[in-house]
């Protein structure tokens, strides 16, 4: 077989995007995927199916609770979970099928099987049927992603104690749904099943939810979700989960006091770990760091020439779009171009309602770094479109350098925060200031006006609120 220019192991958003870019640049490219479908965690059991369910359940909530506010009376609103799940599966299938088509059009050779690096320039692929083949390549990109972290006292059984993968496929809403870990995944899946009828309790070890996001907005989100019926126990340490006849009882301590939580299903969403084992990167001497992530330099090069790594398997936030950008940059570097990822301009998003989105530094992070910052805020209750939408929850918050006015961080809590944050990301990418957004005409009436108003509030000149 002909030698490849680049073999990418893992077809998640990092891997398949890298493959497309490599194809665009005329590299002879192979993509190795252990699963039957392309797309990795994100497309199959992560971002995409969860968003499908979040949107469906959000529509249900609208029909049930919000529509009437608009004068739309819908009697007997029910959920057909089977159809909801079918739609989700169809979304996933459409997307993964689309990726497969993209591989073809970009002349990427795909291999189904578990890829292992046997030596620099050699990848062995063991298919699910058991046969093995070896391919030669000039470069290898490890894009094997991550897997859910398991708790030693609450091992996944796939039925009662589950990871996000299974929590997306419940055929009926659990009566009592216990979520351990109030990060993005726990909050999103907790929201889905709360909306679909479960009694949801979330246990979080830290004194706050959504760690890594702006504290003020996280607290507001917690308030909204509590109002929606989710029970939160913060600073609560789970020590055991016992299964008895398909029912779970979790034991936890909160402020020295022991608590017990009964549940039909327990979601462990305490984070994800890099999926660095198995590719045999270690065997051939690819260095890992203390968190077992593959160690790379700025150009995504491991310590072994010709072997690169991107995405969740290396350091940095475990985000699909971060992996994508690294994939593009890595391939461009391999092709002799200059590739670069700006880690200050990568937003994180939790797709609850309201959505929580943040990019760059939070107010606290900036202050911890001893930076002199100015804050601009604007609540959506003062925004015309939010009022029309009957969607007043949330606010926009900017963190700007006190001297240069450069935007260091932007944080949005709003039903459409995931879309609204993009403006701030662009401006940050260009080194822009709050004044730059403040002096940019925003269409009226739109939610984006609140972004501008918050930017204006940095210099205490927002128009629709008293500036403080």
């Amino acid at each position: 077989m002909e030698k490849f220019d680049v073999v990418i192991i893992g077809s998640g958003p990092g891997g398949y995007i890298a493959a497309i870019r490599a194809g665009q640049l005329g590299l002879k490219t192979a993509l190795v995927e252990k699963d039957k479908e392309l797309g990795g965690t994100c497309l199959n059991v992560g971002c995409i199916p969860s968003k499908a369910l979040l949107t469906s359940s959000d529509h249900f909530m609208f029909a049930k609770k919000e529509a009437v506010k608009h004068g739309i009376v819908i009697d007997g609103v029910n959920v057909d979970l089977g159809r909801m799940q079918q739609r989700k599966d169809k979304v996933v299938k459409t997307f993964t099928g689309g990726v497969r088509a993209l591989m073809k059009t970009n002349k990427v050779t795909t291999f189904e099987g578990f890829g292992t690096i046997t030596a620099p320039g050699k990848v062995s692929i063991k298919s699910s049927k058991g046969d093995t083949q070896e391919i030669d390549t000039k470069n290898i990109v490890i894009a094997t992603g991550s897997a859910p972290v398991e708790l030693p006292f609450a091992k996944f059984d796939g039925k009662t104690i589950v990871s996000s993968t299974e929590a997306l496929t419940f055929t009926e809403a659990p009566k009592k749904f216990l979520v351990i870990g109030a990060g993005a995944i726990g909050l999103e899946l907790g929201s889905v099943w709360n909306r679909l009828g479960s009694e949801v309790t979330m246990l979080e070890f830290l004194p706050r939810i959504a760690v890594g996001f702006d504290l003020e907005l996280s607290n507001l989100l917690q308030r909204s979700l509590t109002a929606q019926g989710i029970t939160f126990h913060l600073e609560t340490k789970v020590s055991a989960v016992k299964i008895d006849n398909s029912h779970a009882t979790a034991t936890a301590t909160k402020g020295g006091e022991e608590m017990k939580f009964a549940a039909d299903k327990v979601l462990v969403s305490v984070g994800r770990r890099p999926f660095s084992e198995g590719v045999c990167a270690e065997k051939i001497g690819v260095e890992l760091d203390e968190k077992r992530r593959i160690r790379v330099d700025k150009h995504f090069r491991t310590n072994i020439e010709g072997i690169y790594a991107i995405g969740d398997v290396i350091a940095g936030p475990m985000l699909a779009h971060k992996a994508e950008d690294e994939g593009i940059a890595c391939i461009e570097i391999i092709a002799g171009k200059s590739g670069h990822v700006n880690y200050d301009a990568i937003a994180g998003i939790i797709y609850t309602n309201p959505e929580l989105a943040g990019v760059g530094l939070t107010e606290d992070q900036a202050k911890e770094k001893g930076m002199d910052v100015r804050i601009g805020k604007f609540p959506f209750r003062a925004n015309s479109r939010a009022l029309c939408n009957e969607d007043l929850d949330g606010m926009v918050k900017f963190v700007a350098d006190a001297k240069t006015d450069r935007i260091l961080g932007a944080h949005i809590l709003q039903h459409a925060a995931s879309e609204l944050i993009a403006e701030a990301v662009s401006v940050i990418e260009f080194g822009g200031s709050s004044e730059d957004i403040g002096r940019t005409c925003h269409s009226h009436p739109t939610l984006s006006e609140a972004v501008r108003e918050a930017a204006l509030n940095v210099e205490k000149r927002a128009l629709h609120i008293l500036n403080r």
């Binding site: 080194g431 200031s433 730059d436």
Partner: protein, 408 residues
């Protein structure tokens, strides 16, 4: 009504200058005759005064280069009482804004035109700062994506502009003191350009002679007391040399002319430039119609210019249109030099230090107060014989001042 303050036409060869200092600021009430700002040109710096009373609104920043006729301020005479400073924003009514294209706007457009299309697009905050602070975007280095200017870059530029002097000092010493780098003043730069231009244009040649100053010294000693009492100022050497020069120019008119393309223009008047060294550089005020002036008038002219030069109040017209120049390096101790022409003039006389030197007088060695004389001339217009004759004539007049129209 708003009255525009424009950069006046200060001289034929001057098309631009720099607003070096505002003496009044936006919002100040000014009266006619109040000095508004100092205009620094390549020849001189001059104070521009208010012509009417009202509230001033400045339109040009200090350090900004301005063209003749450019509007640098507006005086609003509808406000009469000299009250508290009125914020500039409130005064500029939409109407007069329309009439008065803010000079900085046209400027920034012009500046941007020289740059690539991509760089013309500035972020809104940067655009505001550039316009308000009259910055040249091309001169700011961008730290944003692909070298774009960020607001921080613009603010840093403003700061460095405000701390210009500090910055210069810091720049001047990058870690050691073996070099000191300093931007030349516009005046210095113009002088440099003029000198090089003169050297490159004319065929400059210098001829030398010397003169015995005994007679002039004796004459001065004799009449000084009476002269001082009568006129309130001392009789100096310069007036003798101006008179001697006029006599010599009359004897050899070609030195008092200039070449203009293919023509030679003979000046039939005697406007003599007297080079004066100032803190800001060498400047040459003109003694007009020196042939018609008495010794007293000449001395008064020179003294007047010296004071004006020291105070930076020389006007452009004081420096324009000389037909011949006298330079006195002697005041600094120069024994001999080759002056450079002041174009388009064809000659310049160099005076030097008076030194007691042994000379042969009638075959006998005597010690006399001697001065070397130099005449640099444009050999294109002036022949060697004319030049030498001119210098000999000067020498004769100085050594025998009775040849001069002594009128004191």
């Amino acid at each position: 009504m708003s009255i525009e303050v424009k950069i006046p036409a200060v001289g034929e060869s001057i098309s631009s200058g720099v607003v070096s200092v505002w003496h009044k600021k936006s919002g100040d009430f000014v009266n006619p005759g109040d000095a508004l700002f100092t205009l620094e040109t390549d020849k001189v710096s001059t104070e521009i005064v208010a012509e009417n009373a009202g509230v001033l609104e400045t339109k040009a920043a200090e350090g900004q280069e301005v063209k003749i006729g450019e509007i640098v301020a507006i005086i609003d005479d509808s406000k009469i009482a000299p009250q508290k400073a009125v914020p500039a924003e409130k005064k500029a009514t939409p109407e007069n804004k329309k009439k008065v294209p803010a000079p900085q706007e046209t400027k920034s457009v012009a500046g941007a035109k020289q740059k690539s299309t991509e760089a013309e697009v500035l972020s809104p905050a940067v655009r505001r700062i550039i316009e308000e602070e009259h910055l040249e975007p091309a001169k700011i280095s961008g730290t944003g994506r692909d070298g774009r200017l960020t607001k921080g870059d613009a603010l840093a530029s403003v700061e460095s502009k405000e701390n210009k002097e500090d910055r210069k000092d810091r720049q001047a010493q990058p870690g050691n003191d073996r070099f000191t780098r300093k931007k030349m003043s516009p005046l210095r730069r113009k002088i440099a350009a003029q000198l090089v231009m003169a050297q490159q244009t004319a065929a400059i040649l210098t001829t030398f002679n010397e003169c015995d100053m005994s007679a002039v010294q004796a004459l001065r000693a004799k009449v000084q007391d009476g002269f001082t009492k009568k006129n309130g100022l001392k009789l100096g050497f310069m007036s003798f040399f101006i008179k001697a020069t006029v006599e010599a120019l009359k004897a050899v008119p070609v030195v008092n002319g200039r070449i203009e393309e293919e023509d030679f223009i003979q000046n039939n008047f005697y406007d003599i430039g007297v080079a004066v060294g100032t803190e800001r550089g060498l400047i040459v005020p003109i003694v007009r119609d020196a042939d018609k002036k008495s010794f007293v008038e000449l001395e008064l002219d020179i003294a007047g210019y010296a004071v004006k030069a020291r105070e930076g109040k020389l006007k452009i017209e004081d420096l324009q249109g000389g037909t011949f120049t006298i330079s006195n390096g002697g005041v600094y101790g120069s024994l001999l030099s080759t002056p450079i022409l002041n174009p388009p003039q064809s000659g310049i006389l160099g005076m030097h230090k008076i030194m007691a030197r042994p000379v042969a007088i009638d075959g006998k060695l005597e010690v006399r107060p001697m001065m070397y004389l130099a005449l640099s001339y444009d050999h294109r217009a002036v022949d060697g014989k004319d030049a030498v004759t001119f210098l000999v004539k000067v020498k004769e007049c100085i050594e025998d001042p009775k040849k001069l129209p002594l009128d004191f």
